[in-house]
């Protein structure tokens, strides 16, 4: 079974993000980066699928040259080879999906595993757009994945409970948090990853015009809530909630 999994280099979500004073973007100096959390679940699931079914895992990233670090991390976890589609532009999800669609057409995998969203831009669009562009079925927000007889049966997180969907391969599956527990790269894995191949392409090589359909005009900080007060007892809390906040 051939598996494609995608990784995005994102700013470390545990660090406080700072906005440039002129509102044209975020401050990138001194910022640390890591693999998007949700993509780790996608990579892990790819490794588990390969252990069960055999095959090859190709890890793909669309982004700046530095994204090779996140590709190497996935290779160290257990992916077999990497592809970087290199661009320094800030692409919208639509452009990313159109780039990935060309890579998928070339690679012709049985399944594509992606994170459900990236924790920087929080858009949650690329996987679904990719499915639409390829004409593949999709199963988003997966917490359980079973593959047999050319179909994937996917347990999905939905509002109000869970849902089960079956999709015929090739299909796009996006990972949610309960899907698995991503492994850490082992030392031998890290050493092996150094010898694994990363192909480089550009969107132009793939014939994709990456003009964005959505432009960001301004970045700003959200309104902050006014500082609250510390109450000394449960009685005082109830009193304030009744008389001041009128919340009870």
């Amino acid at each position: 079974m051939k598996i494609v999994t995608t990784v995005k280099r994102v700013t470390d979500p545990d660090m406080k993000v700072k906005i440039k004073p002129d509102g044209t973007g975020i401050v990138t100096d001194g910022v640390e980066y890591r693999m998007n959390y949700f993509d780790e679940y996608g990579v892990e699931e790819a490794i588990r699928l390969k252990q069960e079914h055999g095959g090859e895992i190709v890890v793909v990233s669309v982004g700046a040259d530095a994204s090779t670090k996140e590709i190497r991390t996935a290779l160290a976890m257990g992916a077999d080879r990497g592809i970087l589609v290199e661009t320094d532009e800030e692409l919208d999800s639509d452009a990313v999906a159109r780039v990935l669609a060309e890579v998928i057409k070339e690679e012709a995998p049985d399944i594509v595993l992606m994170g459900k969203q990236s924790v920087d831009t929080d858009r949650n669009q690329a996987g679904q757009m990719l499915a639409a562009y390829l004409g593949y079925p999709q199963a988003t927000f997966a917490f359980e994945l079973k593959v047999a007889d050319g179909w994937a049966t996917v347990g999905r997180e939905v509002d109000g409970g869970t849902s089960t969907k079956r999709v015929k391969l090739p299909a796009i599956v996006t990972a949610d948090l309960r899907l698995n527990e991503p492994r850490y790269a082992s030392l031998p894995g890290i050493i092996k990853a150094k010898r694994k191949k990363i192909d480089r392409k550009t969107p132009g090589d793939l014939g994709v015009d990456t003009a964005n359909r959505v432009n960001v005009l301004q970045y700003e900080a959200p309104e902050t809530r006014a500082a609250g007060q510390i109450v000394e007892s449960v009685d005082e809390l109830i009193e304030k909630l009744r008389t001041e906040a009128k919340a009870l």
């Binding site: 831009t121 929080d122 858009r123 757009m129 109000g160 005009l217 809530r225 809390l237 109830i238 009870l248």
Partner: protein, 325 residues
């Protein structure tokens, strides 16, 4: 061009409140771009739901699209129907709630319409053209966006919009979509979590617990408090990751976004990713034994106390005062 098309969300055949909130967004949008608010309801036997949506909630025309292919939601069958409806009503903006339903469906619609897409829109306004605002980076950044395509797709952060009532009733029309069911995707089941408590995103009161509670059993005291106040119970991602609470309860950037009238955070430290999911609440109470926990920075009322004594005490005192049920 004008006109807004709202894709209605039903859950097990019931109109979700987020659908009505999204219609409120659509009214804000037609104030900017002009035209009418159309709502598309897809299902197999949804005339009653179409009539319910048409009853004064801000829509001008409700389209009831009945068909066997829509009996249960899957993106593969809904996408072509929404695309056809968007073209039929010449919608400039096509939107749905930013729920798991809308998040799953709308990127497919955008790709098929050749439209740019805005996720989690909190505002639509005019500034020399249609502009949208949305939060990102866990709600720590707000961006203003311009969509360059003639049609625009959005999911709506419904906690920012209040459902309208008392508006003129909409007309209801039948909508016939030329959609054959796909043979490469099948809905199998929806396993609804049955609960006497309100759903998290609809509840007026939310009691949420964090990893500081130490075990799943200790969420019981939150449930007792929630039942006293007619509220729902939620959890931080840390508590969900620790196995104390189901994923369905998770509040935050990677879970649900809530904005109840009263939010009580118990033993939650207040990680950025959690705050992103509850900062919009009207009144926030934090109960935590660590007085330096970041949750106190967003709380209107902070009680530095051990949850295991404070929460039962709060429940008992509310009960004796006759507050809640």
């Amino acid at each position: 061009m004008g006109n807004v098309l709202v894709v209605a969300e039903l859950q097990a055949g019931v109109v979700r409140k987020v659908t009505l909130d999204t219609i409120a967004f659509a009214r804000q949008a037609v104030d900017v771009i002009g035209g009418q608010v159309h709502v598309l309801v897809l299902g197999d036997g949804v005339d009653a739901q179409a009539a319910e949506i048409a009853a004064g909630h801000g829509a001008d025309v409700v389209h009831a699209g009945n068909g066997a292919a829509f009996a249960n939601y899957i993106a593969e069958n809904f996408t072509p129907a929404v695309v056809q409806a968007a073209e039929a009503v010449d919608a400039e903006i096509v939107c749905a709630p930013s729920s798991m339903f809308g998040k799953d469906l709308m990127p497919c619609v955008a790709a098929k319409l050749g439209a740019g897409m805005v996720s989690d829109a909190t505002e639509v306004f005019d500034d020399g053209g249609v502009r949208f605002k949305r939060p990102l980076w866990s709600g720590n950044v707000i961006t203003t966006l311009e969509v360059t395509t003639p049609r625009k797709v959005a999911t709506v952060r419904t906690t920012e919009f209040e459902a309208i009532s008392g508006y003129a009733d909409a007309s209801v029309q039948a909508f016939t979509a030329d959609v054959g069911a796909r043979d490469d995707a099948e809905f199998v089941s929806f396993d609804q979590v049955k609960s006497d408590r309100p759903e998290l995103t609809d509840a007026a009161v939310v009691i949420a617990g964090g990893r500081g509670l130490g075990s799943g059993e200790n969420f019981d005291m939150l449930m007792t408090l929630a039942d006293q106040l007619g509220g729902a119970v939620g959890a931080s991602r840390a508590a969900v990751d620790s196995g104390y609470a189901p994923n369905d309860w998770q509040i935050g950037q990677t879970g649900k976004v809530v904005a109840p009238n009263l939010y009580i955070a118990v033993a939650i430290s207040g990680a950025i990713q959690h705050l992103a999911g509850m900062k919009g609440s009207k009144t926030i109470v934090a109960i935590n034994k660590d007085g330096d926990a970041p949750i106190f920075e967003v709380a209107d009322y902070g009680l530095v106390a051990d949850a295991f004594t404070a929460v039962p005490e709060l429940t008992e005192k509310l009960k004796s005062l006759g507050i809640g049920s």
